[in-house]
Structure formats: C-alpha cells, structure tokens
C-alpha cells in the first residue's frame, strides 16, 4: 500500500489508483480539520451567539421572517435575508436615507387590540424594547404583547451582571409550563443591572460606545403594522377548531393567553413569536 | 535441454479414453496437499477436491448412453488468468517462471470472487475448519501447510513437489530441474497412465506432442485464457459434447 513497504511495486496502476485514494483521504481529512479549527476559532472569538442566531433565523418559518418594510406597506411581500439586522442591510439604508431618523416620531402610545405600546422606546422583532436612561445605560424589557402572551412566568433566568450581550443574541430566558423561551437582546453591551420585571424592565445594559446604532429596532408607525401582523399570526394559531374564536372585538385581551388556551401548541407559538427555531 | 533455456510451462494432457474414473488422483491429491476428510454435512458442492473426476455422458438414453470420466483440476490459465486479475489482495499469483497459478491462502480473506471468476469451478472454499481423526494429523505432508476455515484453495500442480525437486537440484548444483524430477501426485498415482504431465514449452516433450495431437482439445478454449490442461479422446461424441475444433471441422465436412 505504501511505497517501500513490503509488496509495493511502482506500476502505473498502483501510482494512479493509490494516488487518487490518498488525495481523497487527504481532502476529506483536511476539510474536517478545517471546519474543526474554524469552529474552535469561532468559539474563542465568541461568535457562537451570532452563529446560533444565523442558523436559527434560517430555520424560522418564512411567515416569521417578513421584512419590516412590509408593515409600513413599502413592500407588498418581502422576506428578510439579513437576520433582522437592518444595520447592515442595503435595502433598509436606501429606504431610510431620504427621511431624517425620527421624522415619523410620535409621542402618544399606540393601542392595538388593547395592547399598549409606548413610543418612548424602540422595539425589537423579538418583542423586547430598549429605553435610554439619563445615566447612559439602557433599560431592556418585554413589550405588552409578550407580557400578555406569557402572563406570569414560572421562572426567569437572568444573565449574571457583567455578562456581555449582543444584538439578536440570547438576553434572558423564562419558563412557563413545559415550554421555555429565550428573549433576544435588542442591543450590544454589558449587563449592569437585572430585575424580575416587577418594575417593567429586566435588564440594564451599558453599551461600549456613547452613541449606539438602533437602525435595526422598530419605531413609530411601523410598530402598529408589525404588532397587527404579529397579532393576526397569534390569532391564527389560537383559532379553536370548534368555535372560530376571535379577539378582534376591541375588548381588552386576556392577561395570560397561555393559561386561557392551555391546549394550544405553545412550544411552536412561542418559538414563532420570540424567533426561536 | 532446450526446455531448460526458455522458461518451462507446466501442463497436462489427460487421455479420457484411458481414465476409468477410479479416483486415485483425487485421493493422492488430498493426501499430498493435506486436504481433510469430509464433514458429515459436506456434499459434492461443498467438498474440497482439488482434483475432481466428473462423469460426462453423451446425453443419450440407455443403452446408447456412453460416458467418459473427466479429471478436472485447475487449468493454470496462461493468459488473462481470470482468478488472478480479480483477487482484491494479490492472494493469487501467476508464476512467470513456471506458468503455475498459485493461491496464497494466508493472504486470502475468503471473498470468493475468484471462485465466481473461474470457468472451471476448480477453486474450493473452506466452508469448515479442517478436521482430522485423532492421530491422523501425524500423516500430514510437511511440504504443504494446512489451511483454516474461510479461505479459498486450489490445485497448484503440487507446488511442494516442485520446490523439493528444485531444492534437490540446488544441492546437486544444478540450476534447472529435469522434467522427470517433477510430477504432481495425481499424475503419479494414475493406475491407467491417463494423465501426462510435463513442460508444454518444450516442443519435444511428450505433453506438447500430445497437446498437438488432433484428438486433443481444451475446455472453453474460446474464452482465450490459454488453459494449460488438455484433454484427449478419440471418441467423436466427446468432441461433439465439448464442441472442440475437431467436431466443428466434422460439421463443416458434413455441410460441404
């Protein structure tokens, strides 16, 4: 098999055949090795979260991956191919360049189907919000929709102080019944304070830089459109096969969907809502 | 002499008109090559008989039925040796010095590809581990090693004897061996002198003379593997059955 080892002869057949064989083995070996090394490096450089989001985003249903500009009606139909990170999205840049950042700002909170969305904060597609504080830190919390959906969780798992969170990376987790979900962080930074949400927020985050890029967060009018679509999706999921229940009656929504609809596949619903594949 | 200059090609001519199918060759072969007796379950299709005698008849009903006994062994194919080229791990070797196709059981993994490749069914597989009666193992031939279960084996023209002859010659300071010094067990044991063995490359040798005889033929000659075992019979029906050149010629004459 090997040159100079017992029984080997330098015939063309041997050279060609074994040549091919060894190159193939080498190719296979190196490829595996490369991916191992890359994986190792990625772990070292804390790309795990980003990679996780990337692969999760790919596995999310298309209905979930709608582009934000569909909510504003700028697109009829568009699926995001950038992992909801508009900061590096050419299309988003184009659409927003001509209007000043907060041209369509409004102060009054938006009410959709009894969900109140204050406009003093920016919303992440994973139903978390960000609110700047005088101290230069940012409060992060769950929006009304999420709050109603979950009600009172059975348990919350908050990050240790000082942990570094990043956009679309897992921020904190909660448990409800036998389904657990993590919330995506709306911005990069270091966790400086945590809370069980009793005061309405969960994390205080101190970004590295004074000025932070929030282009990926929802604001102003589009929030309404977004919430509308979100709500419709939820509705569709909650529809009772027997009585076509509808919540579109303007009444205030129930506080705890999960409790009121225990027989629904919450695992899937929560996955869809909080963007976890 | 001439035979000693150019490399010998050992071969056989078997005279079917002389074979009475006694079975000596089969037995002498088994003794020479340490082939074990049959297991109780063994039969014609699982037994090991390097030299095997078939009864070949003319397909006619009684009393026109005629038969010859045809000793069949490895034909030591000289060209594109079918078993040699297919063996995945060089357990079959064609010896260019003698034209003998050797099987190396210790290297064989028992895939049996060579057996499917052999048109003469001259290869045998050890379906069982060899077993000898108590004490009988003392009668094994020291020149041939025993084989284990799961490997293929076949006739090698009693290679052990060739080695012995060469050793003897070497001791006497001769380079080549005389044809008379080397004869396989089957040929030696034939009581009717039906098996001729010798050097086909030597034009004057008895075998090459006989091989040229118009009554001589080879089995499956058309496959072009140049087998080195010839058969001979003067009975027309034999030639018809084996459709030899002779019978073809006869047909021609019949037509023309």
């Amino acid at each position: 098999m090997f040159p100079w080892v017992y029984g080997f002869s330098w015939t063309i057949g041997n050279i060609v055949f074994l040549g091919i064989f060894f190159s193939i083995v080498t190719i296979i070996g190196t490829t595996v090795l490369i991916s191992l090394l890359r994986a190792y490096r990625a772990m070292q450089e804390h790309h795990a979260e980003a990679i996780r989001w990337e692969s999760e985003f790919q596995d999310l249903p298309i209905s979930v991956r709608r582009c934000r500009h569909v909510f504003t009606g700028e697109f009829k139909q568009r699926t995001c191919d950038n992992g909801f990170d508009c900061r590096s999205c050419a299309t988003h840049a184009q659409l927003t360049q001509h209007k000043t950042t907060n041209s369509d700002d409004i102060e009054v909170p938006i009410h959709v189907y009894g969900f109140t969305m204050p406009m003093d904060r920016l919303y992440h597609r994973g139903h978390t919000w960000v609110m700047s504080e005088a101290t230069g830190t940012y409060k992060v919390g769950l929006d009304d929709f999420a709050a109603h959906l979950i009600g009172t969780p059975d348990g919350i798992e908050l990050p240790k102080l000082g942990t570094h969170v990043q956009v679309n990376g897992s921020a904190w987790c909660f448990k409800k019944g036998n389904s657990a979900v993590r919330f995506l962080s709306p911005l990069d930074g270091e966790v400086v304070a945590t809370s069980d949400g009793s005061e309405g927020w969960y994390l205080k985050i101190q970004p590295q830089t004074k000025k932070i890029d929030t282009r990926h967060l929802l604001r102003g009018r589009e929030v309404a459109g977004w919430l509308l679509r979100e709500f419709e999706r939820l509705q569709a999921k909650l529809v009772d096969p027997k009585i076509g229940v509808t919540l579109a009656d303007g009444g205030t929504p129930v506080i705890d969907f999960i409790q009121s609809y225990p027989d629904r596949n919450w695992d899937t619903i929560l996955g869809d809502v909080f963007l976890e594949a | 002499m001439e035979s000693n200059q150019n490399k010998p090609r050992y071969g056989m001519v078997i005279d079917l008109d002389r074979c009475n199918g006694c079975g000596n060759c089969t037995l002498a072969c088994a003794v020479e090559n340490n082939i074990p007796p049959a297991q109780p379950e063994e039969n014609e299709r699982t037994g090991i008989t390097w030299m095997r005698v078939y009864k070949v008849d003319n397909d006619k009903p009684y009393p026109e039925n005629r038969a010859v006994y045809l000793p069949l062994t490895c034909h030591q194919c000289d060209h594109h040796t079918p078993c040699e080229s297919v063996c995945p791990q060089k357990a079959v070797e064609y010896d260019t010095e003698t034209g003998i196709v050797a099987q190396i059981p210790v290297r064989c993994l028992g895939c049996r590809y060579c057996m499917t490749a052999c048109p003469y069914h001259a290869r045998y597989f050890n379906w069982w581990d060899p077993e000898w009666l108590k004490g009988m193992e003392t009668t094994l031939n020291p020149d041939v090693s025993t084989r284990m279960r799961g490997v293929v084996e076949k006739c090698n023209f009693c290679h052990g004897r060739l080695q012995a002859a060469r050793a003897k010659a070497a001791v006497e300071g001769r380079r080549a061996i005389a044809d008379s010094e080397y004869i396989p067990a089957c040929a030696e044991s034939c009581p009717t002198k039906a098996i001729y063995f010798g050097n086909l490359a030597d034009a004057n040798s008895e075998v090459s003379q006989l091989a040229k005889d118009k009554y001589s033929f080879r089995l499956l000659e058309q496959l072009g593997t140049e087998p080195k075992v010839y058969f001979r019979s003067e009975q027309p029906w034999v030639h018809q059955k084996m459709d030899t050149k002779l019978s073809a010629a006869a047909k021609e004459n019949a037509h023309g």
Partner: protein
C-alpha cells in the same frame, strides 16, 4: 535548562506522529498478519527428515508393491513401485490411503465381548486370557455335542492359513473353510480330483468374456486396467462386458452387452447351447449328454427373451469366445448364484481354456516349509458344503480384509448356540454377529506373507512388512491360534513368531531355486538361483519385492462333471424380476469391500459423487419419471426384507426398471434389503419406492 511536562508531551506526540510516517509500524502490522495466519487449533504438519521405505500392500491378494514416504518413522503417503512386475506402480484408491486405517475410529486394541440384543449390540472389553478361556470352553462343548469348529480364511495360501489348517486338522470336528475367488473354487470342484490352485491368466487372453466383473475397476491387480488398455488399443485383447448397467468396465470394454440383472446363468448357458450346437467344443466330459439335455432348453431364442438381448448377440458372443484362442470367461463369485458361476466356468471347460496360457491358469502350490497336513481333503471344504446350523465355533480371520461371504450364509451355517470369533483390527456392524473380537494389527503394523493374485498367470509370494509398531493389546492372528491350540490341547501346531515362520518359508523358496525374485530397491528381476543367500531373498521380499513362480503348462487333467451345479437350474426361475422394479447392488470392490476404509474416501463418494455413495439409490431417468421421482429427493426402498431410506439420483447408464445401490457397508448396507438364493448369493430383488 529544565524541561516542562508540556514539552515532554509534545515530544512524545510528535515522535508518535513521525513514526506513523515511517514504514516501521506498517511493516510490523504486515508481519503480525503473517504471524496470525492460522487458528492455533488447526494442526500443523510435523517436520522431520524424509525417507522412503518399501513394502507390500496387504489389503487384497493383488499384493501391490508400495513406496512409503515417511517423515521420521511416520508414513505420510503411499505410492506404487513402477518396476514391480505385478503391480507396475499402480495402486487402488483404498491402497493409496491405506496408511490412514491405523487411525480409523472403529479400531480396537482390546479383545471385546459383544452381546447382540434384538438388533442393537453392546460390547464390553475383556482381557486376552478371558477371551481365550471363553472360546476354548465353547470348543470343549463342541467336542461333547460333536459340533463343527470352523476356521474361515478369506486369504488362503498364507503361512497363517497353514496354521489355521493345522489347527482345524487336529481339533475334533475341525473344518478349514477358505474362499478366495469363489468362481474358481466352483470350477475347481467340478473336477473329480483337485487340480491345484487356479487363476485367471487375463494378461495373455485374446478375448475376455466378463459377466459383471469390474475388471477395469481395480478387480484383481490394479495395474491390469492399464495393461488391458494397452493391448486394447493395439487390438491384441478384446473385452466383452455382460451386465445390466454401464459400469466403468463396460465403458472401457470393446463391447458391452446389457442383460437383465440375474440372467447371467441363462446367457452363459445360451452360449453353451450355441457352442455345442455348432460343434465348437472338444470337451471330454463324463456327463456331456446330461449337460446337453440341460442346455437344450436354453436355445438362443429363449435366452434372448429372458436376458433382453438379440439372439445374434448370444450366437456372436459364443462364436467369438470359442473361436478366438486363448479366451477366458470370468464371473464375479460373490454377487452371483452358484448356477451362474458354474455356467460361466463351464464355458471355459467347453472350449478347453483351463490350463491354457491366457485361459484359466493352473498354478503350483507355494511351499510353506511347514509340516504337511494329513487329512487335507476331510478338513478342507467351502462354506456351501457345510451342513446348515452345524457350526458351534466359527473363527473368522478378518485381519487383512473383511469377510466377503454374505452374512446370511454365515448365519445359516451357524448352530443356534454357535459363537463367532472375529480376528479383526476393527469393530463395526462387521463382524456382523461375532461374540468375540480379537484385535489384530492393521496394514503397516502387521507382518504377513501374501499369496498370488487371482488374475496372474503363475503363483507368487510377497511379504507385507511392518513399518510402524502396533498398539499394545493387539495380537497377531497366528499368536492367537497358537494359544488357542495349546488351550485346546492341539499338539503339533507350528510354534514361533510370524516373522520366523515367514522367514522359514522364504528359505524354502530359496532352496527350491525356482522362479524369479523382484528386488524393489534395485528394480531388478533375477532368477532365484542367481541369489547369493536366503537373506538376499528375505531382504528383497520384505522391502516391496516379490517371488514369482515360473509358469508351467499342465498337460493332463482329471475328469470333470459339467452338470455338477446345474441340477436346480430352471429357465423359468430366471425370468423373475422381469417387468418389475428390482433392486441391484453395484459391485464396487475398490471402495466398498467389507473392510474399513480411510475417511478420506469421502472425496470419491460423498464429496464428488464419483462413486456410488452410501445412502443413494440410482435410477434411470425414464424409470424415475414414471414413478414421479425427481433427482435428489428422499425415497424409501421397500422389499420383503424391510425398508431403507435413500436419496434418489438419476443415472442414464442404468437399465430402466432397476434401482442401483452400492454394496457398501458404509454407512448403510442395502444388501440387507436384497433377497438371497439358496446358496446365499444376492439376487435381484423386487422393490417398491415411496417418496418421503
């Protein structure tokens, strides 16, 4: 500088990797493969210095010269001696693997007492003396009740045979029963006075008419087939084979005459009829007229009808046989009725082949150099002439080859309280009904002299000399007979070991200065008178040589009676078996004599189907299809004698309407299914076949 653990680890790992890139580990791997080539439990051949020793095969009277390849002292293979005048380097399949017999599972090394209880037999070991006591007691009992004490010898003419005769001559009611080639015994007993040992001089015959004798299948001397073929191709010898299936011999024969099984007698007498009618005979017989009257009923037309052949065939055969001199007719003695044997021997007498070169040779006795026996006539006899149920003690010498006489016959002659003592190296279903087995040495362990083959022109003598010691507990037949003699108070039975006695015989032969001696080690054949000493003779004989008597043509014969055995012959009885399925045993002398065979024989039966194998029944395809049996299916053969299971095999060389079975005792004896005629010869037996 100091080395950290890390560095050490790195070094080790690195060098390990480096090593992988060198051929070293791979070579080691390769070698390991070679070391583990074979399971440890598979025997490896013993090494040792190779030598060749010479001796003579004792398995059958052919007495072939043998070249024995030995590793150390262990015989590992056998081959013939090319220069041997009788065997000419040929051996039979049994001979070629005879060195395995020592290890046969049926081998016995202690005397056994066997108790038969309804079919099954139980054997218990006993000491030699115990056995001796029991037997001599039975002999005393025989004297009181005036019953026969018989010694059965299948290989007459040996030194041992002479001792047996001495024994029989001196014990009261002693009988020495010998049989070799039974048909020749029949011929002999047609003469009014014994004319000496007979033999078929096949080599010089121009025409051989064989009634089912496997002449080309190692019957007699294995080398004969080659000699015959030589003559055949030169057109110097013709063989007419008369039998129901196309045997090996039929294939070799110039002419094969298929006749219905069991009609050999009819065919022979048919030939006799033609010979007499056409005045082709010049035989002078006392009872010619009587014989003519018997034969008159066997006109070719009738015989043709009975045998299923054309009239011309019979006439032609008769003419060829009687016109071409020398010619000889032979018939197998053990599977044919006495009538048939007689009828065929009569042919030889009619055309005057007896005593002719190339006919039935009349040979001279080979002197033993031992004291002569007075009342030879009275003690010598054959099994058939013994009155039924008269034998009290039957000593059968099976030390060289199994007893060929049929069980039925032996049983018939045995008294109710009769016992059988078998001198045999093996114990199997043969000896069929022995109460005592005295273990004897087997070939390569035993020293014995061997008498002439059936198929040679003149008498001969050779010696099978032991190359390996026999296991303890095994006794030589003559030692046993000597001890038994002294126990029975028999006075002058020859004393001395086998070697001494045989040596004495060699001396006597040397003294007679007649014949020639073959020396295997030199390959020389020289006249006895040219030998320097007895030792020369002895040494030649014990190393695969042989002594051959000079042939002599006998001038005058005593008168003979043709119709001796034909009193009961009846054309109509011979019709039996016509138009119905009959069971016929093949005559497979080589592989299936009644003695044990090497397990390696499986190669030519079980493993290749070359020879009829134990539990297989062979049918003509047409017959099989008629009954609706396909190849390989299990069937049950049923006759009046019982039923046995067998595997059906197609064979177009067998006459339709016949079920051929091997006459083997291994592993199943179909003979048990066959009917026997008055003199216990196997005859075609009507059989029924069912599928399993």
């Amino acid at each position: 500088m100091n080395i950290t653990r890390r560095e050490i680890l790195r070094f080790v790992g690195g060098s390990a990797l480096g090593l992988l890139l060198t051929p070293i580990p791979w070579k080691a791997l390769d070698d390991s493969a070679v070391w583990t080539q074979n399971w440890p439990w598979i025997p490896e051949p013993r090494r040792g210095d190779i030598s060749f020793k010479l001796t003579t095969c004792s398995l059958c009277p052919a007495a072939c010269g043998m070249r024995v390849r030995c590793v150390g002292n262990q015989p590992v293979s056998l081959s013939g001696i090319q220069t041997h005048p009788l065997s000419q380097g040929a051996l039979c399949p049994m001979g070629i693997v005879a060195h395995h017999l020592r290890y046969h599972p049926a081998r016995v090394s202690r005397p056994l007492r066997i108790i038969q209880k309804n079919g099954s037999s139980r054997s218990t070991a006993m000491t030699f003396d115990e056995a001796l006591d029991d037997i001599s007691f039975a002999m005393k009992d025989a004297r009181v009740s005036s019953q026969t004490i018989a010694v059965v010898d299948g290989r007459p003419g040996r030194t041992a045979s002479h001792l047996f005769r001495q024994f029989a001559a001196q014990v009261p009611y002693g009988r020495y029963i010998s049989y070799s080639e039974v048909s020749l015994d029949v011929l002999g007993s047609m003469f009014e006075k014994p004319i000496g040992p007979l033999g078929y001089d096949l080599d010089h015959a121009q025409v051989i008419v064989s009634f089912g004798v496997p002449l080309c299948d190692c019957w007699g001397t294995p080398a004969r087939t080659a000699r015959y073929l030589g003559k055949k191709f030169e057109g110097k010898q013709k063989l007419l084979q008369i039998e129901a299936y196309r045997s090996r011999t039929s294939e070799m024969a110039d002419r094969w005459i298929p006749i219905r099984p069991g009609t050999d007698a009819a065919f022979a007498l048919g030939m006799a009829h033609v010979i007499l009618k056409e005045k082709l005979s010049q035989a002078k017989s006392k009872d010619l007229s009587e014989f003519e009257s018997i034969v008159s009923t066997f006109s070719p037309s009738v015989v043709a009808e009975v045998c299923g052949v054309s009239e011309d065939t019979i006439v032609e055969t008769a003419r060829v046989f009687s016109m071409s001199k020398p010619s000889v007719a032979v018939i197998d003695g053990l599977t044919n009725s006495r009538e048939a044997q007689a009828a065929v021997m009569i042919l030889n007498l009619l055309v005057g082949n007896v005593g002719w070169k190339g006919g039935v040779a009349v040979r001279r006795e080979v002197p033993t150099g031992l004291a002569d026996i007075k009342n030879t006539e009275s003690i010598n006899s054959n099994m058939y002439s013994i009155p039924d149920h008269s034998i009290r003690v039957m000593l059968i010498d099976e030390s060289l080859s199994g007893c060929q006489l049929s069980d039925t016959l032996l049983q018939k002659k045995l008294a109710e309280n009769g016992i059988v003592v078998s001198l045999s190296p093996f114990v199997t279903e043969r000896p069929f009904c022995a109460q005592y087995v005295i273990p004897t040495p087997v070939f390569l362990e035993s020293l014995t002299d061997l008498s002439s083959p059936h198929d040679s022109e003149s008498s001969s003598m050779s010696i099978s000399f032991p190359l390996v010691p026999s296991p303890t507990g095994v006794v030589d037949p003559i030692y046993f007979i000597q001890r038994l003699a002294s126990a029975a108070g028999v006075v002058n039975i020859e004393s001395g070991t086998m070697e001494e006695l045989v040596k004495r015989r060699a001396g006597v032969l040397y003294g007679e200065k007649r014949g020639t001696v073959f020396n295997a080690s030199t390959g020389q054949l020289s006249g006895v008178r040219n030998l320097l000493s007895t030792d020369d003779m002895w040494n030649a004989l014990i190393t695969g040589g042989c002594w051959i008597d000079s042939a002599e043509i006998v001038k005058s014969f005593p008168a003979f009676r043709l119709s001796a055995f034909l009193s009961k012959v009846d054309i109509n009885k011979l019709q039996s078996g016509k138009n119905q399925l009959v069971l016929v045993p093949f005559i497979e002398k080589t592989v299936y004599s009644n003695s044990e065979i090497s397990p390696l024989m499986s190669k030519v039966g079980q493993e290749s189907g070359l020879r009829p194998f134990g539990c297989r029944a062979y049918l003509n395809p047409t017959t099989a299809e008629v009954i609706g049996i396909h190849e390989g299916c299990r069937i049950v053969l049923q006759t009046n004698k019982g039923s046995m299971e067998a595997e059906a095999r197609y064979d177009a060389s067998i006459m339709p309407g016949i079920v051929g079975v091997s006459n083997t005792t291994h592993p199943q004896n179909f003979i048990a299914l066959c009917e026997m005629n008055d003199n216990a010869a196997i005859c075609p037996t009507p059989v029924k076949i069912q599928k399993v």
